[in-house]
């Protein structure tokens, strides 16, 4: 049985309400939101709106239960050991900043952090900033098509490395970091006592993740990229890894005792959730992840891969198209960065938009990766479980058009 795109589109209010045809191929930036999130958030904000954890009237009870149930849903989605390992943040960027900011309190000058040149700025700048504390930033280089070169792991991993932060999938090339490479990174990290963080922002849109099997210590992602609401993100941390971190932000709800001279912190996850959290957004995310948990991911992967191959084949037939990323479909997400001759990506996107094709141009918050590939910007098309062959064909036709219009 194949994956039924029109059925799934009916579950996305975006598609149900589309007035003019639009081929949305920008899901890597923000995916459309599933009905489950609309419904769960709407119902929550009408029937159970209240602050959480701090009151005992019926609405406060209902809100707290809903919020904690969402935490349990995230734990299931990631196969975490316990709901207490899930910290809600405002996004993937905030989750990574949380780890960097909390870790900063115990870093010494000369300690090292290892990243890669493929990282999104959100998984690069927070680590780069630790240089203010004398921390050394090292980076794994890229190969010719923009994939992380793991053969350089041993050379780049110093004895004083405290954390390795890598993307689980590139937002530009779509390259997946393989389970084997992750295992090698984890083993190497263990040997020097470093923690491992994976940036799952792109990966989560394509199915549940098993953090226990991955063996890493931290995993971060955003709701808006996996069919959930904006304003919510997740940091998963292995129990021991979270326990050893002090808070990043402070405020209501994350303390034990407050005195004028000193305060004590609550246990994780509350220690990391200062202030009123994004309650309705957590509830919306929980609902969407439950929906995702029930999907037939093998069929969806086959569908996405078929579209990817169709797209790749069509692109090869367009004169002047240059592609980046892994050649093998199994090693990548259906996310493709390309250049059309020497045309600027924003000019290309403009023409594509006039043809009802929404893709993204620019450096995609990955300037280092682009520079490593010798370009400043690319056009990126990204497919999701609601994409279909029409979308792909429209993109290909529009690229032919763009080549003509911009020549």
């Amino acid at each position: 049985m194949s994956w039924d795109v029109s059925a799934v589109r009916r579950q996305f209010p975006f598609y149900a309400n589309l007035e003019h045809p639009l081929h949305y191929l920008d899901s890597a930036a923000t995916a459309q939101m599933h009905a489950a999130a609309f419904e769960a958030m709407g119902a929550h904000d009408i029937h159970a709106r209240s602050n959480v954890l701090r009151g005992n009237h019926r609405l406060a009870e209902a809100a707290t239960l809903a919020y904690e149930a969402a935490r349990a849903s995230v734990a299931r989605f990631l196969n975490a050991s316990a709901a207490e390992e899930i910290v809600f943040t405002s996004g993937c960027t905030a989750a990574i900043n949380l780890v960097a900011g909390a870790l900063a309190h115990s870093l010494q000058a000369g300690d090292e952090i290892l990243v890669s040149l493929a990282e999104h700025h959100s998984n690069f700048l927070p680590w780069q900033r630790l240089r203010e504390r004398g921390v050394l930033l090292r980076a794994l280089p890229l190969d010719a098509v923009g994939c992380i070169d793991f053969s350089r792991l041993e050379v780049q991993l110093g004895n004083r490395c405290r954390l390795i932060a890598l993307t689980h999938a590139s937002n530009v090339t779509g390259a997946l970091t393989s389970a084997a490479d992750i295992a090698a990174v984890v083993a190497a990290a263990r040997a020097v006592g470093a923690r491992v963080l994976l940036d799952g922002a792109q990966r989560v849109q394509h199915g549940p993740v098993d953090v226990r099997q991955l063996g890493v210590d931290f995993y971060a992602f955003s709701g808006h990229k996996c069919f959930g609401p904006t304003g919510i993100g997740v940091l998963w941390g292995r129990r021991e890894a979270l326990a050893e971190l002090p808070p990043f932000m402070t405020g209501g709800g994350m303390v034990g005792r407050v005195a004028i001279d000193e305060s004590s912190w609550a246990e994780p996850p509350r220690r990391f959730e200062a202030g009123t959290p994004p309650i309705a957004q957590a509830v919306g995310l929980g609902a969407v992840l439950e929906w995702m948990l029930a999907l037939p991911w093998e069929r969806i992967r086959a569908h996405e891969e078929a579209l990817l191959l169709r797209l790749l084949a069509g692109l090869m037939a367009i004169p002047g198209v240059a592609l980046f990323g892994p050649a093998n479909a199994a090693d990548r997400l259906p996310v493709i960065a390309l250049r059309l001759a020497t045309h600027h990506s924003h000019d290309v996107c403009q023409v594509l938009d006039s043809r009802g094709v929404a893709v993204r141009g620019g450096h995609h918050c990955a300037q280092l990766l682009h520079r490593a590939l010798g370009v400043e910007e690319t056009v990126r098309a990204s497919l999701a479980l609601y994409s279909d062959a029409d979308d792909v064909d429209a993109l290909l036709a529009a690229l032919h058009e763009a080549a003509r219009v911009l020549a």
Binding site: L53, N56, E61, T64, V255, G256, R257, A266
Partner: protein
């Protein structure tokens, strides 16, 4: 519905404050806060030949916490750590909607109306958690 929680028996139990105070000497103690309301329980115990022979509790908290701590003051002396572990299990199960185990202290039954109020479970459990911590120390 709710004032079923505040039966006379529960108020009396809190009022009785069994075991209230401190012990001159002890083999274990623990201080536990509920960060949500500032409630605080201190438990001190004396152990002898595998038994908990004395318990003192100091509780600043709501009626639920005070009644629960008072029950510890009444019932714990003479029990083994294993019995306390079983008691804690039985209480948690009951709060989560289960039946009260037949061999559990019968007074726990008066906390049954708290079941539907998740935010108050912590109040009932706080003294017991402090006791488990004192035992583990």
């Amino acid at each position: 519905m709710n004032e079923a929680i505040y039966q006379q028996a529960l108020k009396d139990l809190a009022q009785a404050a069994h075991g209230a105070g401190r012990l001159a000497g002890h083999d274990g103690e623990a201080l536990r806060d509920n960060p949500l309301c500032g409630d605080r329980v201190r438990i001190e115990i004396v152990r002898n030949a595998g038994l908990i022979t004395a318990l003192a509790q100091e509780t600043r908290g709501c009626l639920l916490a005070r009644a629960s701590a008072s029950l510890l003051g009444l019932r714990v002396p003479g029990q083994t750590p294993e019995q306390i572990a079983a008691v804690a299990r039985a209480l948690r199960e009951m709060l989560n909607g289960g039946e009260l185990a037949a061999d559990a202290w019968p007074e726990w039954a008066m906390f049954q109306p708290v079941r539907g109020h998740r935010s108050r479970h912590g109040c009932v459990l706080l003294p017991l958690e402090a006791l488990l911590q004192a035992l583990a120390a």
